[in-house]
């Protein structure tokens, strides 16, 4: 099991509801290309009833990179065309589990 110091999976919360996966990846690539194993993006939703933020999970290759990423991205403010601000939160993901690299192909 992973100890607290080996944690490498983060959750990025409170991303703007309308941000797309490619726009998000664009934000982090450049500086972090090749430094993570896995990303899972959950789009947000805007409706009159309820709006939900977009969210992303990233598994970094090295625990140290989490610190650098948090310094770079935690508190990062997105501003949409209406001027609404969205302040990003970066935290360790509560569950550190990541998908196995090799998933069995389902013969069904």
């Amino acid at each position: 099991m992973k100890g607290p110091l080996d944690r490498a999976k983060v959750v990025v919360r409170h991303l703007p509801p309308t941000i797309s996966q490619s726009a998000f990846i664009e934000q982090i690539d450049g500086r972090f290309t090749g430094r993570y194993n896995w990303v899972s993006f959950r789009p947000g939703k805007t409706s009159q009833k309820r709006q939900s933020y977009a969210r992303a999970y990233i598994d970094f290759k090295k625990p140290e990179d989490v610190i650098e990423f948090a310094e770079f991205f935690d508190g990062h403010v997105f501003v949409n065309e209406k001027g609404t601000q969205f302040k990003t939160i970066v935290e360790y993901a509560p569950s550190q589990r990541v998908p196995r690299q090799w998933s069995k192909k389902d013969g069904r």
Binding site: P94, S95, K105, D106
Partner: protein, 263 residues
Amino acid sequence: PERSARVSKVRPPLHQYIRKLLFSDLDKSSIEQVLRQLRKLPWNECETYLLKCFMKVHRGKYGQIHLIASLTAGLSRYHDEFAVAVVDEVLEEIRLGLEMNDYGMQQCRLAHMRLLGELYNYEQLDSSVIFDTLYLILVFGHRTAEQDVLDPPEDCFRIRMVITLLETCGHYFDRGSSKRKLDRFLIHFQRYILSKGALPLDIEFDLQDLFVDLRPKMTRYSSIEEVNAVLVELEEHERTVSTDKANSEKHSDTEKPRSRSTS
């Protein structure tokens, strides 16, 4: 009245089929078959929708939530990324629930606690996730300006959340380090309970049942001062143990968790 008839939502056939499988077909006797049908779905197209439906556990019967956890475990063999997503998603729902503290969401929030516990029972997450969640519930939003909104003094809902989670998986924390972790948590929990003052009777009775069930011999303290004293002692003890442990680190006993599958 000038109101037009309500337009019912039209769902694509694939979504309708998923809903039929999960919300009407699924029960103890059909679970194998439902699992097989889910495996046959075009995963690229419907993984997102399936995840959404898995989170709607409050729609089904409370006693059947373990079936959703069991399906998650069954699917993890071929779609591990999906099982990971289910765990991440339910943890996010729990966190979101704490952030909003919306009265109308209570039933849904308890269903998510139940699902989290069942996902532990089906070995989809570690005990550390359960304990982190338990402590998060006790402290979230405390000592902030929003405390009175997030956890008002007379609001006992968080006690319900803890009871629900521990009812579901607490009996597995009966040996080794997870036993000690639960002992420790229950003292912190008692402190939280006492901070609420007099409890509604239904909650008090559920608490009594929980303690009888998990730790029949544990003292229920009657004042915050008493609990505080116990906590100080506990922390003192933990400090000496951790120094001892640091001295004899290499020979530490690694406790193998025993299998938890209930089916």
